[in-house]
Amino acid sequence: MLENILLNQLTNCIKSGIVILNSKKKILFWNQWIENTAGITSKNALGKNIFLLFPNLKGSRLEYAIENSLTLKQSGFISHTINSNMLPLLEKNLRTGEEKKIIHNIRIYPLKNEMDKVIVFLHITDETSYVEKENILKQKAEDEKRLNLKLMQEITERLNIEKKLRLSASIIEKTTEGVLITDKNAIIEFVNPAFTEITGFTNLEAIGRKVSILKSGKHKSEYYDKMWQCLNNNKSWRGEFINKKPQGSLYVVESSIFTILNDSNEITHYVNIFHDITLRKEHEEKLKKLSITDSLTGLNNRRYFLDTFERIYNSCFRNKEYLSLAFLDVDFFKLYNDTYGHQKGDLCLKKIAEVIEKMIKRPDDVKARYGGEEFVVIMPYTDSKGSKRIMEEIRKEILNLKIPHEKSKVEKYVSISIGVVTIVPGPETLKKDLLNKADEAMYKAKKEGRNRVVSI
């Protein structure tokens, strides 16, 4: 009896469950801890079949192990880790009143009672705090792993970016396109070797200075204003610049400028990628010039004359200005060619052209070889008096060249007949008429004895 009291006291001190079953699985002992956690007093538990108290455990691993213990005297170990069906034990938090499931293991030992009958001793241990600790550790490890993974990803990403950057950098270094990067205030921050090649500014000379050091002064300020406006609105601009090298020579570049924006969509940088098109421009100019120039005399050709005549006529028509038109024809030129040969003839025409070129200096005037030995001069804003005077000067100057022309029937030297007509273009006048009239005047000059100017 004393032993029983001691056993009771002892088992009630233990913070784990102690249950003893008889061979019929009826509860013989039920300690304090299991009373509290199962919510069943020992008075209610004692003498009852454990699977009547916990019908859910029928067919569970616990039943199987208890069976084995009773019949085969085997010890069993049942762990919460692999068994979901365990005893419904709860722990009440005395402060908050919350109930928490008790995670537990059960050890099963076969014992023999005083009558040599097998009884089963269940030892139920609370593993809750243990599992919680382990879970925290596991969580920590998981977190750490996740962090490492994230770090790895970031590093890989950065390496990829660096790879790309290195690639871009080497492309920028090697390309023949000039690359110029400025900050938002157009202060140069970066230039590549091709920049130096094209502009003549080394990176030391360029970086830190305003991009306007490249300006040639060939563009009006509106040109740049428009560009900046376009850049700020459209974030990009394409066009040409005539720039100046530090040594003073001009060059033309074709530029693509785009902006770099920050996260708030504000411009932080301008990137200008450009190439030198000076040579191309020169070629274009040459070609253009060739197409409108008479190859022998260097004056404009008939086509150019016809194109510009229309333009000038219209301009004078609009402005109600005088327009003079002169036809100049070398006297007895066929005879000259027959006498001195075509080479001399060409030389003669060249010399005459030089005179016309020299005498007609105003930029708006047009002087052209109309065909054969015939030249034409357009003089806008010039009245009859003025045009006649200048034509007279040309006639004299040509005679003064003293180019011998022994077969000429008017002079010893090469002379010229000029017909000039002056009108103010109006609704009643016609372009064609003007040309015809000038031609008419020239024939009149021929008729009247050549080496003269006839003005209508």
Binding site: L72, K73, Q74, S75, S79, H80, N105
Partner: protein, 202 residues
């Protein structure tokens, strides 16, 4: 080495197979996936040759569950042995694949212990049945060590020459987990065990 004849060996294997089948059934209850256990061969050997029979490197990390059983005819330490890698796979199988188990935690040890408990109890139960013996066992204990140290501690404990009965190719089919059931007996105990075994099997 001690030998039992072919018929006896077959009978013993068959008996073990039946109880292993029962153990598998109770393991199946705990996990969703179907597992099957097989015991295709049986070897008698000593500790020195055990590793080579098991084809285990001395450096290999091992994990095992041990239980001691005492009956009238059989006194043995029964072991369920895995490589550490396979033991982790086994834990995963029970605890859940979503949890990454990379080293054996205490919880993992508990899981392995119970699995060992089920399998070893089943093996011993079938032997007890053949021997018509009452064999009581202790609670399972988990151990881990290198292959070369597997039997060292035991040698110091008992100087008596030991004999091992090894059930090779004990397989948990799913996941290709391979385990070994080893019964460690001392020489004295072996005689009475085999006598009784052979007598009851024939």
């Amino acid at each position: 080495m001690f030998k039992i004849n072919e018929i006896q060996e077959d009978a013993l294997k068959e008996a073990i197979n039946i109880s292993i089948g029962q153990a598998a059934a109770s393991l199946n209850k705990m996990i969703k996936e179907e597992i099957s256990l097989s015991v295709p061969s049986l070897k008698f050997t000593n500790e020195k040759e055990a590793l080579s029979i098991l084809k285990l490197e001395p450096e290999k990390e091992l994990a095992y569950v041990s239980q001691k059983f005492i009956g009238k005819y059989l006194q043995t330490e029964a072991m369920l042995l895995f490589t550490e890698k396979d033991s982790l796979e086994l834990v995963k199988l029970f605890i859940g694949d979503h949890i990454k188990v990379e080293e054996m935690s205490s919880l993992g040890q508990e899981a392995i212990s119970e699995i060992g408990n089920i399998i070893l109890n089943a093996c011993i139960a079938s032997l007890a049945n053949i021997l018509k013996d009452e064999i009581s066992g202790t609670i399972p204990e988990f151990y881990s060590c290198k292959g070369e140290n597997l039997f060292k501690a035991k040698e110091k404990e008992i100087i008596k020459q030991k004999i091992l009965i090894i059930f090779i190719d004990f397989k948990i089919e799913i996941k290709k987990i391979q385990g070994y059931v080893i019964l460690v007996l001392d020489l004295d105990s072996l005689g009475s065990f085999l006598d009784r075994l052979i007598k009851n099997l024939t």
